[in-house]
């Protein structure tokens, strides 16, 4: 078993400018014990459809 001693002295942020945060993302100023992030992004081959516009079936 390991002992870790953390002493948080000054944490001072001057200025942060962010355009966008999206899709279950986290901007954290501070400490965390455990961070678990999962992400799945799918653009299957059939995701590019060329042809007449038809509604996507519920199975799609």
């Amino acid at each position: 078993m390991m002992n870790l001693q953390v002493i948080n002295r000054e944490l001072s942020v001057g200025s942060i400018d962010i355009e966008g945060v999206a899709s279950a993302s986290l901007v954290l100023i501070g400490d965390a014990d455990v961070i678990q992030l999962a992400s799945a992004f799918d653009t299957p081959p059939e995701s590019l459809l060329i042809g007449p516009f038809v509604p996507l079936s519920p199975e799609g």
Partner: protein
């Protein structure tokens, strides 16, 4: 239990949408998930009842590495967190802006992207009218009135009531 103060002078944002959070101060557990079925079409043609979250990308569980908590962490918070100025244009889809300490965070994002181009397809005026006149369920529903759920199968509308 208050562990660490957060002092924020200015936090400004333009858009905060789709279950996003600004958290100033400590938190214990964060569990945030988002599912997005994104459809982009060359022409404006959208129905609210299209698609489902049945596909693998939404339902497969992502295997996470095991957490081995064989470290004892001892924190001494001597000074507060100070933030002078923070500008975030847009926060969306279960995202979190967090100023302060936290313990456990789990976040999950699933996105499926479909693009539909017109190609050489040409529509007769009748077809265009049909597209424009396609009834969108729930559009004319009164407040608190249950909305009919419309399924599309083989281009045929099958009405089912939930």
């Amino acid at each position: 239990m208050l562990k660490r103060c957060s002092i924020v002078n200015e936090l400004s944002g333009i858009t905060l949408s789709f279950s996003s959070v600004y958290q100033l101060g400590d938190s214990q557990t964060i569990l945030s998930t988002t599912k997005a079925y994104a459809v982009q079409r060359e022409k404006e043609f959208f129905l609210s009842s299209e698609g489902t979250f049945d596909s693998d990308v939404f339902n497969k569980t992502v295997e996470l590495p095991p957490i081995k908590r064989n470290v004892i962490v001892n924190r001494m918070n001597l000074s507060p967190i100070r933030v002078n100025c923070m500008k975030v244009q847009a926060t969306a889809f279960s995202s979190i802006i967090h100023i302060g300490n936290t313990c456990n965070v789990y976040m999950d994002s699933r996105v499926k992207n479909i693009r539909q181009l017109e190609g050489d397809a040409e529509y007769s005026e009748e077809e265009l009218e049909e597209i424009q006149e396609t009834e969108i369920p729930g559009l004319e529903a009164e407040d608190e009135e249950p909305i009919e759920f419309v399924e599309f199968r083989d281009g045929e509308n099958q009405n089912t009531i939930e």
